[in-house]
Structures are given as C-alpha cells and as structure tokens.
C-alpha cells in the first residue's frame, strides 16, 4: 500500500531530476578521452610485449629441457646396466679404498 510518504518521495525524486540538469560537455571532453585511450593503449601494448617475451622465454626453456632429457635417455649403456652394476660403478671410490677380504684357510690360527 502506498502512503502519503511514498507520494512525497516520488515528488522529491521528480524535483531531483529537474535539479540535476544534464551538464554540457566541456570542449576538453573529446581530447581528454582520446588522450586516456592512447595512454591505456600504450600501457596495454608494453604489457603485451612483456608477456610475449616471457612466453617465448618459457617455450625456449621447455625446448632446451626437453632436448637435454632426450639426450640423456638415449644413452644406451645407462639403461643396459643392472642395478648392481650401476651401483658398483657409482661407488668405485669405495672399492679402491677397501680391499676385498681374504680368508687363509691353510694358515694356523695362532702362530
């Protein structure tokens, strides 16, 4: 239900519409608008250029890593070894320093 206050508010809104007359655009409106457009365009352009450079660098890094991984995997000897052989090869320093144990069975224990 609409009361008298509703009508008063409607009247106030109508008066407000009349009080807020449409302002005339200033002579600087269009030049300022184009200046803002150009400044945003140059910012967007430099941002896009930076983004392109980053994407190119990322692609190059991916290609380099891919090539490097492929070369390493194509090493046939690496894959033909068994686990023990690979382990022995990796610990060659230990085998040089520690001599294999020998058991002299012909020798008397306490001479």
């Amino acid at each position: 239900m609409r009361g008298s206050q509703d009508d008063q508010l409607d009247a106030l809104f109508r008066a407000y519409r009349e009080a807020c007359a449409t302002p005339e655009p200033s002579v600087h409106f269009m030049p300022q608008l184009w200046r803002r457009i150009e400044s945003r365009q140059s910012f967007t352009f430099s941002f896009r250029r930076m983004a392109n450079a980053l994407v190119t660098a990322a692609v190059a890094a991916t290609v380099c890593l891919g090539v490097y991984t492929t070369i390493r995997r194509s090493d046939a000897a690496f894959y033909s070894q068994s686990y023990v052989e690979a382990l022995a090869e990796a610990s060659t320093i230990d085998t040089d320093l520690v001599a294999p144990a020998r058991l002299e069975i012909n020798q008397a224990p306490f001479e």
Binding site: Q5, D6, L12, C20, E24
Partner: protein, 195 residues
C-alpha cells in the same frame, strides 16, 4: 537506438572516426545519467570518460546491435558504482564539504549573487543525496535508474541481467530503507548518512 549497427561494426574494426560518432551520439545522455547518479558536477566528465574508455576497449565483445544500449548503460552503472565506492573510502570528500566548495565557486562565478532557484535545487540534491546514504551504492544506482531516470523493469532487466522478480524485491527493499530515512528526516531527525 541513436546509432546504427554499421557504425558500431566500423568502430569494432578500429575506425576511430566511427567511435567518435558513437561518443558524440551518447555522451550527453551518459553525462545526464551520471550527473543524477553521483550528483557531483565536477566529477561527471571524468566518470563519463571512464565509461567511453571501457566501451572502446570492450567493443569487440559486442555481438548484436540490440544489446548495445543496455550494455552501454551497464558500463555506466559499473563506472558510477566504482566512483561511489572510491568516494566512500575517502572521508575527506563529504557532501557537506563539497557543497560549501560549490557554493563558494558559484558565488565567485556569479559575482557573489546566488539565485534562489540554485539554492533550492542545491537543497534538493543534498536532501536526496543524504536520503540515498541509507542504502548501498549498488541500490542507490538502481533506485536512481528506476525512480529518476525512469527506466522500466524490462530495461533494468537487460542492464542488470537478472530476472524481473529479483529486481522488484531489491527495489522494494531499497525504497523501504529510503522511505524510513525520509520519515526520520521529515520528523526532524537527521537521516543516516553514508561514509
């Protein structure tokens, strides 16, 4: 529709002269809407330029001519909303302070003589601005578009892209809050002011 779709298509293709024509066709209407929504003459052009700036960079997303005007209105609503939110975050720009500045400026330009009509209109603007402080910025814009701009619910539905019933509920609640503030102000109380 103030421009034909061919002009919009040309502007979409990067024709700056066509875009210029679109701005010239709509700028007065947009300035009027912004003036009524934000009620600050000194910032109206700035907000209107922001609207056309957003239009320029999003024009390529437009597919059909029918949605151009609601879409431009939506850009206007969003720009006005952003402006009002920024204003709320800056307490130094209060309506009363600005009004004093405006009065001083008006005094200076009119040689110290202020017309009675101007005073009355200023008072109306301040009253409505104070009343609308009772609702959020989004509801303020919605109320302005409905009550002052005189847009229909169908038009608002296109702008806000929500169904009519949801809009009706939102409008009703916003109006009730404003009415409450209006009742308080007519009883001599100061209505709740935003900021």
């Amino acid at each position: 529709m103030r421009v034909d779709f061919e002009l919009i298509k040309r502007a979409q293709a990067g024709d700056n002269a066509a875009f210029n024509e679109i701005v010239l066709a709509y700028r007065k209407r947009i300035l009027g809407t912004i003036m009524r929504v934000i009620a600050r003459r000194e910032d109206v052009e700035d907000v209107a330029q922001e609207v056309f700036l957003r239009l320029y960079f999003s024009l390529d997303q437009l597919r059909t001519a029918e949605v151009f005007e609601p879409w431009l209105y939506r850009l206007t609503v969003n720009a006005a909303y952003d402006y009002l939110r920024k204003q709320r975050r800056r307490p130094e720009y209060r309506m009363s302070d600005l009004s004093e500045q405006q009065v001083l400026m008006a005094d200076a330009t009119a040689g110290g003589k202020v017309e009675h009509d101007d005073q009355y209109q200023k008072k109306i603007r301040e009253s409505v601005d104070a009343l609308l402080g009772a609702v959020s910025e989004a509801d303020r814009i919605l109320l302005m578009l409905k009550e002052v701009e005189g847009l229909s619910l169908k038009e608002l539905e296109k702008i806000y892209q929500v169904n009519e019933n949801a809009l009706k509920v939102r409008l009703f609640r916003a109006r009730q809050r404003v009415l409450k503030a209006f009742g308080a102000s007519t009883k001599g109380k100061e209505p709740a002011r935003a900021g």
